[in-house]
Symmetry: C2
Subunit: 401 residues, 2 copies
Amino acid sequence: MSTEQLLQYRQRMRTELDRVLDFWLKYSHDTQHGGFFNCIGKDGKIYDDLKYVWLQGRQVWMYCRLYRTMERFHKPEILQAAKSGGAFLRRFARVSTGGSPWKCAFCLTRDGQAVKVQRTIFSECFYVMAMDELARVTGDNDMQVEAAQMMDQLVHWVRVDSSGLGRPQLPGDTQVCNMAVPMMLLCLVQQLIEGRSGEEVDKYKEVGSWCVKEILQHIQRGGTAILESISVEGKELPGCQGRLQNPGHALEAGWFLLQYSVENGDQELQRTAVDKFMEVPFLTGWDTEHGGLFYFLDVDGYCPTQLEWSMKLWWPHCEALIAYLMAYSQYKEPALLERFSQVYDYTFRHFSDTENGEWFGYLTQEGKVTLDFKGGPFKGFFHVPRCLYMCEKILDSILEK
Amino acid sequence: MSTEQLLQYRQRMRTELDRVLDFWLKYSHDTQHGGFFNCIGKDGKIYDDLKYVWLQGRQVWMYCRLYRTMERFHKPEILQAAKSGGAFLRRFARVSTGGSPWKCAFCLTRDGQAVKVQRTIFSECFYVMAMDELARVTGDNDMQVEAAQMMDQLVHWVRVDSSGLGRPQLPGDTQVCNMAVPMMLLCLVQQLIEGRSGEEVDKYKEVGSWCVKEILQHIQRGGTAILESISVEGKELPGCQGRLQNPGHALEAGWFLLQYSVENGDQELQRTAVDKFMEVPFLTGWDTEHGGLFYFLDVDGYCPTQLEWSMKLWWPHCEALIAYLMAYSQYKEPALLERFSQVYDYTFRHFSDTENGEWFGYLTQEGKVTLDFKGGPFKGFFHVPRCLYMCEKILDSILEK
């Protein structure tokens, strides 16, 4: 592939990132109560004012990351928006429902009252990401301390005792290892150690290598499948849960592992990241009939029980773009750029809204937009801008060499 | 429409009911641990052995109802299967997780260990249905007493104090009235009073009229919409939750109300059941482009946030068939039979599997089967056979006159 093509990709990533950012700057800010509206229609109209903690945290993180690491986004309005989101989170996200003082809500009213609490760790994870990144741009040490304290709590819930999450103990509910947990923690480790050193960092690095070991256990069936959920012993679980594959999630794990292994100079892990977490989900997850990545698949070919299994969602495609471009920048194998190119064509043709900006999130198997909002309970200012941002950065590095 | 046509409908209902019953008798019985397999592939293969309490209870109820009220199903094998399911439920469904001794699990392992508990009332409702109907065919008074005790607990949770369900109190989580709750209770009231009299029955009748009043509050926007969730004051709620419509659910409420009002000689309520709970969901919920009933709709035309909103599910079509046929048998208005006929054509063309028996449950908006199993976590031996059974009965009564 020619340099010309790579330049065109970069140009598109840049333009698209600018447009996506504009959309959220224009429509998502709640100037009355602080924080961000999450439910935004195709043309920018707010159709619900609930605030989802995952998405609040992610938007703070993304604004700060853009502000801190890309010159054209080093603007006061972006910093201001990030601070507003951070203040909203610090004031309202944590709920004290009898359990730990670190437990965060999943969903808040517009003015910050808790509506729903999940018995998982993810609201808290995005709280850490937001606080740490915000501390980096503001220099506010309190926020960094808060991120570190929350991280300690998370590691405790995951590795020592999960009872503080509030899940009832049931005899048939055997402990399951979901790939999301070590993935998320690894992502936080990478966030917290970036550019730092010392004792804290050593502590996080130990967590990081534990996460990698955990993620690798999800390679199952002699290396031919990445399974979302496995037993504590690292074995395949019975039933639908055990057979579930989520190609987009595997691809995301792939670039997390690749980034980690490059930074740590672990060549064997690099190759595993590409061969197992990028190649396998493509071979099993790409829809050869209509294009695009399936959302869920059963490794034995049964029909998944998730109603949305055959739909094409935006975020797996975002993760795939990052994964294949990162892999190509590492190995320069034309086949990897081919994968990127194939995903790129599908993604920009189907998800990007050339009329109103931002991307659609949900397509039928055949590629028709079936939910046309730009923001919803699980779609915020995160996967799309992170993908465009990372692809632009990677293309910069490839083109500079 | 000619008698010939009605006879053809009845013949199809009969044949189909026989085939559906055969499918479940053949594939769903767990002869080792008792109870029923719920996850059954298109050709009868068990793809997961988890047992869902809603579906266990519903299957017991349906077997008993067929055994008790249709001569051709008065067979020992059906009674035996119902008893096995009932014994499994009595032994394993109730969990004592610190709260009430009446709380039931949502999902059990094959050998009956609790996997998941919902903080709602529905597992318990289907337990009542199963026990009461099983008591009627076996004459086992203990079961009837158990059904009555569970019903008391349900009414207490719904009308007095829901804290025993285990939902945390959150400041932003204002109380919401979901139509499912009074609908389900009304269904239980009808079950428990059938053919009985006395003090207990008077108690249930009071509950029944409370349920009807509650359901009627879901008629909103000057009678042009049936909204799933409303405030405790009977007003529309803000946001997506407040605007949500579920046409199949409204239609089900329609025939519950029609049945109730016919039994109670309430002509005004009869008319409301038809004009509001059957006509409105058809006008708003029928897909004029591809046919079939949408699963969810937003009353203001926003895109619902449920990923499956535009899919065509089997059960709303089952409810619609019962509703329009029952309404026609009451009023003999040709327009009502036309509605039935339109739903019938779509339903039998798209859902019924002429190859392996039983019905598919999940279609795309365009009508393609997208999940091909016959049984899953929410699809059991219930909506299809109840629909066929009730339609056959209603056609009998129309044709006899």
